[in-house]
């Protein structure tokens, strides 16, 4: 094996040698440089693979033939091999990426480039403190040199600020080193660590200086303006190096020297890291410049790893995995993003929509962003999960909370960026500035994207509860993604449905016998297949639709089948990502998808936070831990409940839903409404079953929340003019019922809950499919622009009518089962007033049911709709399958409810319901025979119909305008269609209840956060002198906090 010293020798020699090359052979020089970098990568790569094999042990390399302290020694171990490999690889790819730039800049630039990479290698490997200083300095000078690659004024300014800051930092480092030396008499890092510098005050000051200065190299918030400027102004290729390579090396150095300061110093490093992570991301929320934004993100991510390094004593055996997962994730994603930025060459993130013209880059971009936020299947997801689990297990709850807050803040700007890229208009001349003709620019980006996925896969063995089976559906989705741009939608639809059916068949045995899971699994999978069918009516390729839909369904399936919190969370995040991509496809969905994502991410972090307590309770990720939480159970359960409620869109957390569901594509709405929302319900049910006595207050509060959600949702739906938004608000209301029902925590309450879950799944699928189809056909969302369509679409009408009657809970359809159970449950539980609110909501539901039926199907047919035809069978077939389901449920409710009843009795929920053989259900209060009701009503209906037919005789149809309209004959359908502001009276009376108070509350919150961020970022005044001053102040303040006592 080639000695690691040759990395240095090779680089130095090459850098020297390149100087001799004339200006004539620039191309050759670049190739030589790349060859050198490749060789360096190979050397560290072979070491790395040897360490992974276990065929070598850690090597100490002594220079000049002496052992320390008489010589400088380097170390090559697993960690060093891994870090140098990453650095060299980034160097190689970064050099490739900068090929043209370096060639233009000349041989000197290439020498500087290779020296920079070399210095980073030494920084990682060296065990000598002074040697470390020397190469940190060399690295800084080389970086300053590379910043000069772009000879713009901004880059120059940034470079000077960088020089001033690093100059001050390294001067102080030198003071620290020399004092450490004077106390220990040795410059070897291990020797200094062994000498316990922290034991004396003076020694501690030396150690403090060294550590703090190395922390400052990592640009901690808020003393980091100089770093931000470099990210913004330098060539993105250099930005990638600074963020990925230099950042990585600096982290390793910090890890290396931190023990000098002793155990007691670690918490301060955690604080520094967390402050940086939260602060940098928070301030980043105001940023619109792409490169500077990446800078904020880089600093934040590095801060997170700094915190993790400080947490080493806490994290124990998981430390290495967590730190490495976060680092590799950051390196790959951030380098990729900087390189994309260099290709896009758009300063403002709102112009990044031009990415859409390059699908491969767009997908890479999305992968990087989702990796940074910590979505599965990327390594940071694994790392963050394990980090939070370990933190809460070790009682570092505050740290965990702040890390999650910081992650959320990062999401705020990252998803705004994604939204801009996916939805903004592409200006006509936007593609002119693109620089993606050269393979050497695009290829490194794609490699990073592949690598970050692969790194995710490799993380599996390190996390408790992670199985490689979770990647099987992902592989299928990637396959769909690969064929995405070639095949028409019809083929992909068939493949997707087949894939889902097969997946259902394979996965079902896992949950067989668990009725609760089977019900939800059925809703997700059957619902998934049924809601995919309307896609047959769509033309074209529908690029991006199928991967997103399948991602969501894969996530949903994983949630159900997972037996541990990791799997659950994995599925939860997949589902969130998939649904986000589905929702954002709508024409006007950008803002709504954004708010959906923010609520979802916040909710997901709350869930993760709660899961941490479960992990703490049993020391493993099994879901059983949820029932064992002893540490702060109320906090944990509340966090989980709120987390799940972001998906059920309960009052206060619902503002994303109307827009997200209302503006989604016609066949996406049923997916995200009828199917997706049930994930939150499943989570809540799982939670409630585990809460035990700790949850009583929470349940009581949630009961009220559910009741008010139902009222607010239904009332808002009543006042909507937009058909799909009406249905969306209706979903909020229905989910309010469900929340209320299951909060009762009795058999009857849960039965009602399950009834609502099943019914809502069926009727809302029908409604969104059919109404969505009508919206497309009529070309308007506005109810008052429709009308009279019963004549054109009778089958659609019947479907909507059945669905609406089910929703309104009228006997004899299955909706009544829910109402009946509700009344019984409410009385037995004693939640009377809440119950009345819910019943009031129920009668209000009636009003929008009528408004929708009337406005779409009755009243006046509009002139521009005279040529409409019945909806496509692709929509009607799944709708009628679901109607068959409703009918079955209505006629034989006991077939469905009896097994659930038995399940609930077995769960000890009390208040039972008994079923007679003839289908009569009895509680202590009441009885109901769904079967009999159906028979009686159908018979009565038939007889009355017969009677009516007898007395009326044969009828002839009247013309549209042939009505008694105050003795006038109307001639314009618009003037005679009573729909707009239909419930004006009700609105006057109680409309104030749904004044958008909650929306303005969240708007105020976001304005406050933004204003705060805007205020804080004024510290980055742009003055290099101020930045240097901030560094000094940072050290002084840090000193007084850490050592002042």
């Amino acid at each position: 094996m080639v000695g690691p010293i040759y990395i240095i020798a090779l680089a130095l020699g090459l850098a020297f040698f390149l100087g001799f090359f004339g200006k004539s052979a620039k191309t050759l020089s670049v190739y030589l440089m790349l060859a050198g970098l490749a060789a360096m990568t190979c050397i560290s790569g072979t070491w790395l693979s040897a360490f992974i094999d276990g065929s070598v042990s850690t090597q100490e390399i002594y220079t000049a033939g002496f052992k320390p302290p008489y010589s400088i020694n380097l170390r090559m171990g697993l960690e060093e091999a891994a870090f140098t490999f990453i650095i060299n690889l980034i160097g190689l790819l970064g050099g490739t990426y900068l090929f043209q730039t370096l060639k233009k800049a000349g041989n000197a630039a290439m020498s500087v480039f290779i020296i920079l990479i070399m210095s980073l290698n030494v920084i990682v490997m060296t065990r000598d403190l002074f040697n470390l200083f020397v190469f940190v300095e060399i690295g800084s000078i080389a970086t300053a040199g590379l910043i000069l690659l772009d000879k713009e004024s901004k880059a120059l300014q940034a470079g000077l600020k960088y020089m001033i800051a690093t100059g001050v930092i390294s001067g102080l480092l030198l003071i620290g080193i020399i004092f450490a030396y004077s106390f220990v008499g040795n410059l070897n890092i291990d020797a200094i660590i062994g000498a316990n510098l922290a034991g004396t005050t003076a020694g501690m000051v030396a150690a403090f200086l060294i550590v703090v200065v190395l922390v400052l190299e990592l640009k901690p918030f808020p003393a980091n303006g100089w770093g931000l400027d470099v990210y913004e102004a330098a060539n993105p290729g250099v930005g990638a190096l600074v963020s990925a390579a230099i950042g990585t090396a600096s982290l390793f150095v910090l890890h290396k020297v931190l023990p000098m300061a002793g155990e007691s110093f670690y918490p301060y490093i955690v604080a520094v890291g967390v402050i940086t992570f939260v602060g940098s991301n928070l301030v980043g929320t105001q940023q619109k410049n792409a490169n500077r934004l990446l800078g904020y993100s880089s600093i934040g991510q590095l801060g997170l790893v700094v915190a993790v390094i400080g947490l080493e004593p806490v994290l124990g055996t998981s430390f290495k995995f967590i730190a490495f997962a976060l680092i590799i994730n950051h390196v790959l994603a951030k380098a990729g993003l900087f390189w994309i930025s260099g290709i896009i060459r758009k300063a403002n993130i709102s112009e990044w929509s031009v990415l859409r013209t390059k699908p491969a880059l767009l997908i890479s971009f999305l992968i990087f962003i989702f990796a940074l936020i910590g979505f599965p299947p990327f390594p940071s997801f694994f790392g963050k999960y394990q980090l939070i689990m370990n933190l809460i297990s070790s009682d570092n709850i505050g740290t965990a909370a702040f890390i999650l807050i910081g992650s959320f803040a990062e999401g705020i700007y990252m998803f705004r960026w994604v939204g801009d890229a996916l939805k903004n208009e592409v200006a006509e001349d936007a593609t002119e500035s693109l620089d993606c003709g050269k393979l050497n620019k695009v290829l490194p980006v794609l490699l990073m994207a592949v690598a970050v996925v692969a790194a995710g896969y490799l993380s599996i063995p390190f996390v408790d509860g992670a199985y490689s089976t979770y990647f099987i559906p992902l592989a299928f989705i990637m396959f769909i993604g690969l064929i995405d741009s070639f095949l028409p939608a019809v083929v992909k639809n068939v493949v997707s449905i087949a894939g889902m059916a097969y997946f259902t068949y394979v996965m079902y045995p896992i949950i067989e016998g668990d009725l609760m899971r089977s019900i939800f699994f059925g809703i997700f999978m059957i619902g998934g297949i049924l809601t995919l069918i309307p896609g047959f009516a769509k033309k074209g390729k529908r690029e991006g639709f199928y991967p997103a839909a399948l991602l969501m369904y894969a996530g949903l399936a994983t949630i159900i089948t997972a037996d541990n919190t990791f799997g659950f969370f994995f599925g939860w995040e997949l589902m969130t990502a998939g649904s986000y991509f589905l929702i954002i496809r709508g024409k006007r969905s950008k803002a709504h998808a954004y708010s959906y994502m923010l609520f979802s991410v916040a909710g997901a972090y709350l869930i993760l936070f709660g899961f941490g307590f479960a992990y703490q309770a049993i020391g493993s990720s099994l879901l059983e831990g949820l029932g064992e939480i002893k540490l702060l159970p109320t906090l944990a359960y509340t966090a989980l409940a709120i987390g799940f409620m972001t998906k059920t869109a309960s009052l206060g957390l619902h503002i994303w839903l109307p827009g997200a569901h209302g503006e989604a594509e016609s066949d996406v709405s049923p997916m995200v409404s009828a199917v997706l929302l049930k994930a939150g319900v499943f989570g809540l049910m799982l939670l409630f079953l585990n809460m035990g006595d700790n949850g009583e207050t929470i349940l009581y509060v949630l009961g009220w929340v559910g009741a008010f959600t139902a009222l607010m949702g239904n009332l808002s739906a009543t006042f909507q003019e937009d058909a799909k938004r009406m249905l969306a608000y209706s979903s909020i209301g229905q989910l309010g019922y469900i929340l209320f029902a299951i909060s009762m925590m009795t058999t009857l309450g849960w039965l009602a809950g399950f009834t609502y879950v099943l019914n809502h799944f069926m009727f809302k699928s029908i409604l969104f499919m059919v109404v969505g189809g009508i919206v497309v056909a009529t070309g308007t969302h506005d109810l008052y622009r429709m009308g009279g369509l019963i004549k054109k679409m009778p089958l659609a009408f019947i479907a909507v009518m059945v669905a609406m009657i089910t929703m309104a809970g009228l006997p004899p359809l299955s909706g009544f089962a829910g109402k009946w159970l509700f009344y019984n449950a409410v009385i037995l539980k004693g939640w009377y007033i809440q119950g009345v609110i819910v019943f009031f909501a129920g009668t209000i539901a009636f009003m929008y049911a009528y408004k929708m039926l009337h406005s779409i199907f009755f009243g006046q047919l509009k002139d521009n709709h005279r040529n409409l035809k019945e909806l496509s069978p692709a929509i009607l077939i799944p709708a009628y399958i679901l109607i068959a389901g409703i009918m079955y449920f209505s006629v034989f409710p006991q077939d469905v409810l009896q097994p659930i009843n038995e399940l609930l009795v077995s769960l000890n929920l009390g208040d039972t319901l008994t079923w007679a053989a003839d289908g009569n259900a009895t509680t202590v209060l009441s009885n109901w025979n769904g079967n009999a009701v159906m028979i009686i009503i159908v018979t009565t209906f038939a007889l009355v119909l017969l009677y009516t037919m007898l007395i009326t005789g044969k009828t002839k149809k009247l013309e549209q305008f042939n009505i008694a309209y105050s003795a006038e004959r109307p001639f314009r359908p618009e003037t005679t269609h009573y729909s707009h502001n239909m419930f004006a009276g009700l609105n006057k009376a109680i409309g104030f209840l749904v004044a958008p108070g909650i929306t303005s509350f969240w708007n105020n919150v976001s304005t406050m956060v933004m204003d705060f961020a805007g205020m804080v970022r004024r510290i980055y005044s742009g003055n290099g002198q101020v930045y240097a001053g901030q560094i000094i102040v940072y050290i002084i303040v840090f000193y007084f906090i850490a050592l002042g006592k």
Partner: protein, 305 residues
Amino acid sequence: MDYSITKFLWSLLGLFIILNWGMLMSSTMRRVGARLAGRIGVPMYQPWIDLAKLMALKTWLSHGVMYYIGPVFRLVGGVGMFLFMPIIFGSEIWSNYSFSGDLILLLYFQSFGMLGMAMGASDSSSPHASIGISRGLAQFAAVEVPMTLAVIAIAIQHQTFSFNSIMEAQQGGVLNWTIFTNPLASIAGMLAMLGAMSHSPFNLVKAPNEIPIGPPTEYHSSFLSVLRTNSAIIHVVEAALFMNLFFGGADTWLMYIVKTFFVYFISVFVGMVFPRMKVEDSVRWFLKWPTAVGIIAVLVAAYWK
């Protein structure tokens, strides 16, 4: 469960009696109203004449299928309500099909006819119809609040939703009636009844002056006869519902007739005295006083035993 033909015929007989009683009651009330206004009023047999005339008028005009089916829905709603409630307390033959459900079923089945009728009327494309319906639905929603509160208070009091059990609890003297044992719930319920009966001041659904008779505006001849039939039935059935809940039910047909008349008379009497309210006013009204009384009733029933 008894689906026998005898049962069916007994129920049919009961329906017939109630239909005629409903018509008689309405002509009585019209005469009372006329006397109050200083007129003589219609003859007592006027409703029968009207009904016979309308039935005899064959129609051949229809706005569409739903228009046709609307009155059917409406009548099924009325008949269904009748069928799901026992007529005479303690009588097997007059128990109808009440075994299939109880008070809850009835409360929700109320809406069955309403929604069907609403769709039928809408199919006529007349804006008057949908204006009336929209008002009706808004008021209905508001009325349901005190109604539900009253029902819950009674359910708490008697620990049942079953009509028979509720009536049973009220046997053995006038003082056992809910109106005396649970006056607050009864007040809330009776105030809700005023709305449910759709007489003045809450008759804005049909509001003859502004939206000539509202939902049925396009219905004529035999369609109208179906609606008239229904309204005769439903007035009695609604009255019977409140009778069963608050006034001890009826153990003979005589008591049935006396009590339903009394309950119905209350709503008509109030209607004679007060002028019609606007929608927003009636919604506010129901959500204010009757609701407040209802909430107190529930709290009293629940916590002050």
